[in-house]
């Protein structure tokens, strides 16, 4: 909460608020809404385990599939650890990623290459790079920080039967999109739709929450899709076997388990 207050008294945000929307109080709300939405999307529970299936579909309809197990553990002050183990395709089976995420600092990342049993440190300056060739970026998978963008509340409406806030977010530092417009569920705080615009303000990518379910009383997007409007590619993602708060221990997120997947969780 202190973190949020600090963000709210950031002078940059005041200026952005003044410029974009008629009422300053609305601008402050927008940041809080986005923070809540990030928390609901990327920080739900104290830990999470899920099986992820990604289908990469090209304009001709050819499908490439990635299947992985993802483990996440929340730490103090927004720190998180992610462990991702690839089951498919066969050629990359056994590959595992370990990410230690911090707020206000670059992530630490490691990859395990099973063919030569190599653990390698990898650079993390690629938040906008594609995650395993999909239309999702690394940032889309493991989250961004609320202060990476300025936010403005454009209005409130109903989207597919759900009450939503319409929020416009603009990156603080120049990046590969100029703005994104999200529809955030007023009660569940999950983004139901996000539209990204490129630097020439043309629609570039569209995110949709295809299926939202309550898993152990936590509202969760269990099917999502990202369409690239400019290339015609699409990535469909489904989350299965989701468990929250199952007691993942911090030592799972170490080199030991990169080399030898924690069978209990990865099967």
């Amino acid at each position: 909460m202190i973190f949020l207050i600090k963000k709210l008294i950031n002078p940059g945000l005041f200026l952005a608020g003044l410029a974009v929307v008629p009422s300053m109080s609305l601008a402050m709300d927008a940041t809080e809404i986005v923070q809540r939405s990030l928390d609901a999307t990327y920080y739900a529970g104290t830990d999470m385990r899920t099986k992820v299936t990604m289908q990469l579909v090209n304009p001709k309809g050819d499908i490439r599939e990635r299947e992985m197990t993802m483990l996440r553990l929340n730490g103090a002050e927004g720190e998180q650890r992610y462990y991702t183990y690839f089951h498919r395709p066969t050629d990359v089976k056994g590959t595992a990623f370990l990410v230690q995420k911090f707020t206000g600092k670059e992530d630490d990342r490691w990859i395990f290459v099973p063919a030569i049993k190599l653990v390698k440190r990898i650079a993390s300056d690629d938040k906008r790079s594609s995650f395993v060739g999909s239309d999702f970026t690394y940032e889309d998978v493991s989250g961004r920080e609320v202060a990476d963008e300025t936010h403005a509340l454009l209005g409130e409406e109903t989207f597919e039967g759900r009450p939503v806030y319409r929020i416009e977010s603009k990156p603080v530092k120049p990046i590969d999109y100029s703005r994104r417009v999200s529809l955030i569920d007023k009660e569940r705080w999950l983004p139901l739709s996000e539209e990204y615009f490129d630097l020439r303000n043309r629609p570039s990518r569209v995110f949709s929450a295809v299926k939202v379910e309550s898993i152990a009383d936590i509202w969760t997007i269990t099917a999502r899709t990202m369409k690239n409007l400019q290339t015609g590619y699409r990535t469909d993602v489904t989350y299965q076997d989701i468990n929250y708060n199952s007691g993942l221990e911090v030592d799972i997120f170490t080199e030991r388990y990169l080399r030898n997947p924690p069978q209990q969780w990865v099967k």
Binding site: E65, A123, D126, S129, E255, R256
Partner: protein
């Protein structure tokens, strides 16, 4: 038939049996594998008098991998069995590339059997990764998976708190150097009779201690073993050559972490040449200090650039120089190498462009590997690549000058 082939053929029934156990439906192991074809054509064929020389590599390789983990997760078994048909020399061979048993209990992990072990932080430059390599495969353009040779070992790992302790007891195995029948170069002329001392039954020991300190991975290494390249020493009393693998101990350390959105790695090692401590035997490598620094980071979306700088310093150089007049080529005291790797993913990461080059700064030679890999779908990829060697013919890469090649690999994974 070499001793190794004999060992492999003797172990075939064991392989077949373990495979049968693993693919037994009641055991429910995960089974998959690859089918890979690899062909390498030589660029300079003027001096070739046979098709073997024009096409030094042409093979079809099938791998069958099976993993099985017991219900309580304490034991697991892994087999990766390989059948290779070499069309150049019309040879068929079967071997276990990996065949091991894992046992886990609490903070202990034990892996026994044939396994891959990779340590250290370098990219194609090795200091503390003392385990055997396959340079024949690498210079022939085989995929990176084949650069490492498996080790027959017992590996005992212990994880107290945040520290990792790894210990290895392994059977000695040499590097697989570029084969005389596939590469055209100056091989040492040895005076007959040649007597080889076998190290096959000798054991080697290695240990690694590692820990992370606020984002920096720090490791210390030690090993007691042998040089992986043979020493060719003329016999003393009568004409002849004695071929053997001299003793060597290594001590080293490495650190890797993030600086300015890139990854920095530093590694150092001391190679203690136990059979030539004074450095006065020119046929055995002197002790060395090896240092490596590397940095790699993203240039733009889906691209990575990595640079490395490496120094190898020979100890007791004057003693070596004084004695080296009888040896053929004189090595320099300081050997400096720089490398550069650029990788770019394109077309939704289905096309990978990769350029890797070694620059022998002391030896004035170069090696450039360029590859283009395309994944047709999730199961099939193809790669074309070139290996170009140039510069001083006495240098490590320049010596391969006449072996520039173009290769094609197709791999089907199932």
């Amino acid at each position: 038939m070499t001793r190794m082939d004999f060992v492999y053929s003797k172990s075939l029934p064991i392989l077949a049996m373990s495979l049968l156990i693993l693919i037994n439906p009641e055991v429910s192991a995960e089974v998959n594998g690859i089918l890979q074809s690899h062909t390498t054509a030589r660029a300079h064929t003027e001096s070739c008098d046979s098709s073997d020389c024009e096409i030094p590599f042409s093979e079809l390789r099938a791998q069958l991998k099976a993993d099985y983990t017991t219900n309580e997760n304490a034991h697991s078994f892994t087999a990766n069995l390989e059948l290779v048909q070499d069309f150049v020399f019309d040879e068929t061979s079967a071997r276990a590339r990996e065949l091991y048993w894992d046992w886990t209990k609490g903070a202990i992990h034990l892996r026994s059997g044939r396994q891959m072990i990779t340590w250290g932080t370098g990219d194609m430059l090795f200091i503390n990764d003392v385990f055997a390599k396959d340079w024949n495969a690498f210079f022939g353009g085989m995929p990176m998976d084949f650069l490492k040779r498996p080790t027959d070992a017992i590996k005992f790992d212990f994880y107290p708190g945040n520290t990792t302790i790894e210990t290895v007891i392994a059977r000695f195995d040499e590097d697989h150097l570029p084969e005389m029948r596939r590469f055209e170069m100056q091989f040492p002329l040895l005076a007959p009779p040649i007597t080889s001392e076998s190290n096959d039954d000798d054991l080697e020991y290695a240990g690694k201690l590692s820990r992370s300190f606020s984002g920096w991975d720090v490791s210390g290494y030690v090993s007691r073993g042998y040089w992986r390249r043979a020493a060719y020493q003329p016999a003393i009393a009568a004409p002849g050559t004695n071929v053997f693998y001299p003793r060597m101990n290594t001590y080293g350390a490495s650190v890797t972490g993030q600086i300015k959105n890139g990854v920095l790695n530093l590694e150092a090692g001391y190679y203690d040449s136990r059979d030539d401590v004074s450095g006065s035997n020119p046929f055995i490598q002197n002790s060395q200090i090896r240092l490596l620094s590397g940095y790699n980071r993203q240039l733009w979306k889906d691209s990575t650039l990595g640079v490395q700088f490496y120094i190898e310093h020979m100890e007791n150089y004057s003693a070596y120089r004084a004695a080296a007049s009888s040896a053929s080529a004189i090595s320099a005291e300081l050997n400096r190498v720089a490398t550069l790797r650029f990788t770019q993913f394109l077309m939704h990461q289905t096309l990978t462009v990769n350029v890797f080059s070694y620059w022998g700064l002391s030896e004035s030679d170069r090696f450039l590997q360029s590859t283009l890999r395309y994944a047709f779908n999730d199961n099939l990829w193809g790669e074309i690549g070139t290996n170009v060697f140039s510069g001083n013919s006495q240098g490590m890469f320049g010596a391969f000058d006449r072996n520039d090649n173009l290769y094609l690999t197709l791999r089907l994974a199932y």
